[in-house]
Amino acid sequence: MKTSEILTTICKVLFPFVLSYGLYVIINGHISPGGGFQGGAILATAILINYLIGIHIVEDVGLLVKVEKYTFIVIMLLAFVSLFTRGELFTNFFSIQSSILQKRIFLILMNFFIGIKVATGLIAIFSTFIEEGE
């Protein structure tokens, strides 16, 4: 079936805006509504919009899974750092007396990596289903 011109144009116009909105939701997750999981889902939607107009944007699913694995390892290591600096597991790695701006560094880093991980996971799931259907 031939895709219509209107759908193609709208998807191409919408793609960068949805991408930047997803990044905004991820980075501002500690001030405004949002966070890693929600922003990751928006990022995945921005990538997957290309399947509507017939562009196969994902060539290799194995690469996506590799990215997701290494991001998960980075998240685990970031959470383990607090064992050495603060003495307890799985919390912020700055001490509890440090200023609010310092504590926000941990939140932004964690939100960013969780967003990347959720986005790659959802894209991998969806493109596997697309491959299965063909």
Binding site: S32, P33, G35, F37, Q38, V118, I125, T128, F129, E132
Partner: protein, 111 residues
């Protein structure tokens, strides 16, 4: 008596009823999703108060809803999506092997 909590529990029971009587695999998965969404609704209505705002500091009113059920439900939503994707892939494999989606036929053919 909180009527909203009771109503969301009724939706949970509707999902369980659909799970017990469904004859098709796809409708079982849909019933599972209904149950999951109703559990999310139940948790959110436990934490809600009348006139409460979203739990973000810097607003105008000091009355906010409880943030802990909302933070728990983020986890529940992502895990529900994972379960749905996994069961749909298993369903595709079953359909390729047996050629049908009915529970009864699959159980009969398996013996």
């Amino acid at each position: 008596m909180r009527l909203d909590i009771l109503l969301s529990f009724v939706v949970v029971l509707i999902g369980i009823y659909g799970l017990t009587i469904s004859k098709n695999i796809i409708s079982s998965i849909i019933s599972l999703n209904i149950t999951q969404a109703a559990v999310v609704l139940l948790f959110l209505s436990v934490g809600a108060i009348e006139g409460g705002e979203a739990p973000i500091l810097g607003g105008f009113t000091p009355s906010i809803v409880d943030p802990i059920p909302q933070a728990l439900m983020i986890t529940a939503i992502v895990i529900g999506a994972s379960i749905t994707a996994m069961s749909l892939m298993l369903t595709i494999k079953l359909f390729h092997y047996y050629g049908t989606l009915s529970w009864k036929e699959i159980i009969e053919r398996e013996g």
